[in-house]
């Protein structure tokens, strides 16, 4: 796999750093090169949280990047904060529950894609697996780790919780699956933006 750069951005508590770490570790466990760095600033909580992740077959260079292959922005603020990471080759993903004004989207992108992750997690699954839907979507779009490796990584990270509540495993796997399907569908249907 050649280099894939992903920026995940959301509000504190949405769990973007957690899934960035899980995906990076999954890739690492699969003998890929992976590099993950969170943005960190003055505020411990309260700012937009961004995870920068890179995957590759060969050694990864600079830890941060200016243009991502995929940007996922999970709040209105996150869209504003990350639109500069979008370039001509970027899939820019946001949650379709937000009404983002056209002028607030990035000026340049390969595709701007809205996915109903928040609504799906609230109505169909459970709010706590929102970030796992996002993880599924990222995997569906980027194939940085295989679906099976992602499940293994989830098991590795959350296994102790699954033991207490086996239904949780099923919930997480379904979230992963639904996120992946959402992404694949959106990739087929998504309208190329020419803003």
């Amino acid at each position: 796999m050649s280099l894939v750069r992903i920026a995940l951005a959301g509000e504190g508590g949405q769990g973007v750093q957690a899934i960035a770490e899980i995906m990076a570790e999954a890739a690492y466990e699969n003998n890929q090169q992976a590099l993950y760095i969170p943005n960190f600033g003055l505020e411990q909580r309260g700012g937009v949280s961004i995870a920068f992740i890179q995957f590759s077959d060969s050694r990864i260079g600079a830890p941060k990047f200016q243009k991502a292959d995929i940007v996922v922005a999970l709040s209105e603020r996150a869209v504003a904060r990350t639109k500069d990471y979008s370039g001509p080759e970027t899939l820019f993903v946001y949650d379709s529950s937000f009404n983002i004004a056209p002028e607030d989207f990035p000026k340049v992108a390969r595709k701007i894609i809205g996915i109903p992750a928040i609504d799906t997690s609230n109505e169909v699954l459970h709010p706590r697996v929102f970030n796992i839907i996002i993880m599924g979507a990222v995997i569906g779009m980027s194939h940085v780790v295989s679906f099976e490796d992602a499940k293994k990584a989830l098991e590795h990270k959350l296994g102790y919780k699954f033991v207490q509540d086996p239904k949780l495993r099923e919930l997480n796997y379904r979230a992963l699956e639904m996120g992946k399907e959402m992404a694949e569908k959106a990739l087929q249907e998504g309208v190329a933006q020419s803003v």
């Binding site: 992976a34 590099l35 993950y36 760095i37 969170p38 050694r59 600079a62 830890p63 200016q66």
Partner: protein, 362 residues
């Protein structure tokens, strides 16, 4: 002392965690520290791990105290270290000066953050001048600028040995990106790699009865006469200079036929190497030179690279406004090669920043 790492193992961790493991594996006895971002997790991991291996920790009232407690611990014969950044590095120049003057083999991990002043808590390469030549002295220090987690691990282990072998303070110069990012590395027990860790020894608090089996030790760092100090500094300088050849480390790629040499250090050298490769595929003869030790600087090696390549330009790329550039110019004084620069103080540099700059100057 229980072995810290049994079998060598692949790990995926942050640079700060790597640093804590490396200090453990190197046999460090004590850490003294004061919170400052982005080095905090070195203390966090150390305070969790150290008690399991009988190692000590003290959170001091400030960086002055952290530096001076390290000086005391080293004098008493313990392998001691600290970690800091930015304004903390400024304060620690005072104890680092004492270490330089009294030849105390301390090790300090510097995770550079933005400056001047409080700057940012994130990242920069703006502590090069401070770390190499800080204090009211002559820069008699050994500074390793790391680029990967593997190097953080390797050079901390090496750094403790360098410090105790030569008794100059040793600095591991990282940065906020290296501190916070996760990437793979292999951690190992030094002895399994044939690295013998030097045992520390006390400078005061010696065995034996004073006046009977030994003389009292009087360690001094202030002199009545100019001539006394002159002797001390000149002796130290001569010793430091005699060690240059055995201390300098560098990395050089594709300089044999280079028209332009991309010069960088630390984490930026990752982008510099990628840029060099991209430029080569585009038919531009770019070379790559990276000092790993910033003190002492591999100046002869850089001069050789310039000479053999016949390059007409050096492009110095750094996340600072000319600190590596200035250091390099003073080290290779007399060379007539043109120096171009890509100064991006406090922000990261990617391969295409360098590629574009090279194309604009060549």
């Amino acid at each position: 002392m229980p072995k810290v790492i049994g079998e060598a193992k692949k790990s995926f961790m942050t640079g700060n965690e790597t640093a804590a493991w490396a200090c453990l594996a190197a046999g460090a006895d004590m850490m003294f520290g004061y919170p400052i971002t982005p080095q905090n997790e070195i203390m966090h991991y150390w305070t969790r791990l150290a008690p399991r291996y009988g190692r000590g920790f003290l959170q001091t009232e400030d960086e002055l105290s952290a530096g001076f407690t390290v000086c005391g611990a080293v004098q008493s014969g313990k392998k001691a270290f600290t970690a800091t950044a930015g304004p903390g590095n400024v304060l620690m120049q005072e104890p680092f000066g004492m270490a330089e003057a009294m030849r105390l083999p301390l090790l300090a991990i510097i995770q550079q953050r933005g400056g001047p002043s409080s700057g940012t808590v994130v990242y920069s390469q703006q502590e090069v001048t401070l770390t190499t030549f800080g204090g009211n002295g002559e820069g008699m220090r050994i500074v390793y600028s790391t680029a990967t987690h593997q190097e953080i691990y390797d050079y901390i282990i090496k750094g403790f040995n360098t410090a105790w072998q030569y008794r100059f303070p040793v600095f591991i110069l990282g940065d906020g990106y290296q501190a916070k990012m996760r990437e793979p590395l292999e951690i190992y027990d030094p002895e399994d790699r044939g690295i013998e860790m030097l045992k520390p020894y006390p400078l005061i608090g010696l065995e034996g009865e004073i006046g009977q089996s030994r003389e009292p030790q009087h360690l001094c760092n202030i002199y009545s006469l100019e001539e006394e100090l002159y002797e001390v500094v000149m002796k130290m300088a001569a010793e430091y200079e005699s060690l240059q050849d055995s201390l300098v480390e560098y990395d050089e790629k594709n300089c044999d036929d280079a028209d332009i040499i991309i010069l960088s250090h630390g984490v930026v050298s990752r982008a510099a190497e990628d840029a060099m490769k991209i430029l080569r595929t585009q038919g531009i003869k770019a070379g790559y030179f990276r000092p790993i030790t910033l003190r002492p600087y591999p100046q002869q090696q850089l001069r050789n690279a310039i000479a053999k390549s016949g390059a007409k330009i050096i492009l110095c790329a750094e996340s600072a406004y000319g600190q590596l550039d200035r250091l390099t110019k003073q080290e290779i004084y007399g060379e007539t090669i043109k120096m171009e620069n890509l100064f991006m103080p406090g922000v990261g540099i990617i391969d295409y920043d360098i590629v574009d700059k090279v194309k604009s100057v060549i």
